[in-house]
């Protein structure tokens, strides 16, 4: 792997940047691998990287049906935080946040993590109580989190309309200062490049069309580029988890819904933090290019169309203008949708399945970008040892039979 640094940048300037080597190879698929990972989003690529790096399993392929990061990884609003309510989630997302904090160095790739803080607004007494409950739970779990009063919100982010007469007044907020945003593509590309350097084959334009099994265990995958043999097949396909699992006759508690986002025309730096509000349902940050990045709520039904309904955009803009009246004259530039994999308890499924050698990592829904490094890390452990890491053990598929759900609807009421 060609190391990126100020010196390599300077050196390549001399040749007009014409001879950078490609960030990862594009090999032909081999006949056999130790592990096949299905899905070249952030989660699949991170999993491949940690399998090679931490478990010495290098004979790995990542199969991606289109291009790397073209799923939800490249479509999300990139909010990163770990202030989840329940112990299980707080530990998992905090594990991810810690990995984020060293990721650019680890991968020798700038993932542009910007810990600009994530503010969650409270608009009524119930919100206030929920927020202080969450902040206390976070602190007991070692997650940085604090409660701000209305005056402190006003001082921290003067753009927010904190006047008392409005329909949803700001009564306070929680703030996780270590939260923020990161560059979505860079996460996929950084993991891909680092995994490739450790010998992982990244194979784009290769869709898995079947999962071959015998005697209750996987034998390999049928793909658009032929059969690939592997004793371990690990799904990391977000929206497509249900129908890939169905290829192995598994039923999952996941539904795939559209989730939209919009960006405004670029403006000078005005918003230096991430602002979220559950009650008016809005979340927004400003990108380095100057665009406001605004996320919506999910559309109310199953769809893989990768486009959502217009009323959702109207709703989200109403909410944004309520919180930030000065944004009312901004024009919106682009709109798009991803398809998110929603679990009944708004928590992911990461673990083994009843089929030997088949692993599942999905159901991250509206909030799995922030978990990318942590998810890959514990999933690699699960695949290498054929047993879950303590951090993802509570997120098993069995929890839907045992009843031990991890209800994070509070954390995910706003899609993020």
């Amino acid at each position: 792997m060609q190391k990126y640094s100020i010196f390599s940048l300077a050196r390549h300037t001399l040749t007009g940047h014409a001879d950078w080597t490609e960030a990862w190879r594009s090999p032909e698929p081999k006949a056999t691998y130790d592990v096949v990972i299905v899905g070249g989003g952030g989660h699949g690529l991170a999993t491949a990287y940690y399998l090679a790096k931490e478990h010495g399993i290098n004979n790995v392929a990542v199969l991606e049906k289109s291009w790397l990061g073209g799923g939800n990884t490249g479509r999300n609003t990139t909010i990163v935080r770990s202030n989840y309510l329940w112990d299980e989630s707080a530990h998992l997302y905090e594990h991810a946040l810690k990995l984020w904090e060293g990721l650019s160095r680890e991968l020798n790739f700038n993932v542009m993590l910007s810990q600009r803080g994530v503010l969650n607004l409270a608009h009524n007494q119930h919100d206030l109580r929920e927020i202080s409950r969450r902040v206390h739970a976070n602190r007991l779990n070692g997650v940085d989190s604090e409660v701000l009063s209305t005056d402190q919100v006003k001082a921290f982010c003067p753009l927010i309309d904190c006047s008392p007469g409005v329909r949803y007044p700001v009564l306070g907020a929680s703030l996780q200062r270590r939260g923020g945003v990161a560059r979505h593509d860079a996460v996929a590309w950084g993991y891909a490049r680092a995994a490739d350097a450790l010998g992982v084959d990244i194979i784009e334009n290769c869709a898995v069309t079947g999962i071959r099994r015998s005697g209750g265990a996987v034998e390999g995958v049928e793909t658009t580029r032929g059969f690939i043999k592997a004793p371990k097949v690990a799904l990391a396909v977000s929206a497509h988890t249900s129908h890939l699992a169905a290829m192995a006759d598994l039923r999952l508690p996941i539904e795939s819904h559209p989730l939209q986002a919009i960006v405004s025309e670029p403006v000078k730096p005005i918003l230096h933090t991430v602002v979220m509000s559950n009650s008016v349902h809005a979340y927004v940050s400003q990108s380095d290019k100057g665009e406001l990045v605004i996320g919506a709520g999910i559309d109310g039904t199953v769809s893989y169309a990768q486009r959502g309904g217009f009323p959702i955009i109207e709703d989200i803009l109403k909410a944004i203008v309520h919180v930030f009246p000065m944004f009312s004259r901004l024009r919106m530039l682009r709109q798009w949708a991803g398809t998110v994999d929603i679990c009944p308890d708004a928590s992911p499924i990461v673990g083994l399945t009843p089929v030997g050698g088949l692993y599942v990592n999905g159901g991250w829904g509206t909030g799995g970008f922030k978990s990318t490094p942590g998810s890959g890390h514990v999933y690699a452990h699960t695949i290498a040892r054929n047993e879950p890491h303590p951090l993802n053990a509570p997120f098993s598929l069995e929890r839907f039979s045992t009843g031990a759900l991890v209800d994070e609807h509070g954390a995910a009421a706003v899609s993020h």
């Binding site: 249900s242 129908h243 039923r251 999952l252 508690p253 169309a305 309904g309 217009f310 839907f400 045992t402």
Partner: protein
């Protein structure tokens, strides 16, 4: 955004309707005889298909009545609407 043909009111804007999730999931008649896996299957597991999908809808801001729909989840094309006590039409039945 699409128009939904309510069986009672005719074509109306999607925003008047709410989806009620997958159709034809019958509540088990004797839940006390189910094991945890079978109960979980009824409560939580869904087909979530990429393609033909039979789902329940309610005309929430209209006649407030329920009905079923056959829709392609990839194109969002509505192939048929039918009453809740009717057998699901097969694709191709619609006209």
């Amino acid at each position: 955004m699409y128009l939904i043909p309510c069986p009672w009111c005719g074509e109306r804007d999607q925003s008047e309707f709410r989806s009620g999730g997958e159709a034809h999931i019958a509540r088990p008649l004797e839940p006390e005889h189910l094991n945890d896996g079978a109960w979980a299957d009824y409560l939580f597991m869904r087909t979530n298909p990429m393609g033909l999908y039979r789902e329940r809808w309610v005309h929430a801001h209209g006649c407030r009545r329920w009905f079923n729909m056959l829709r392609d989840t990839v194109s969002d094309r509505i192939l048929a609407v039918y009453h809740m006590d009717e057998a699901p039409p097969e694709p191709g039945d619609e006209s």
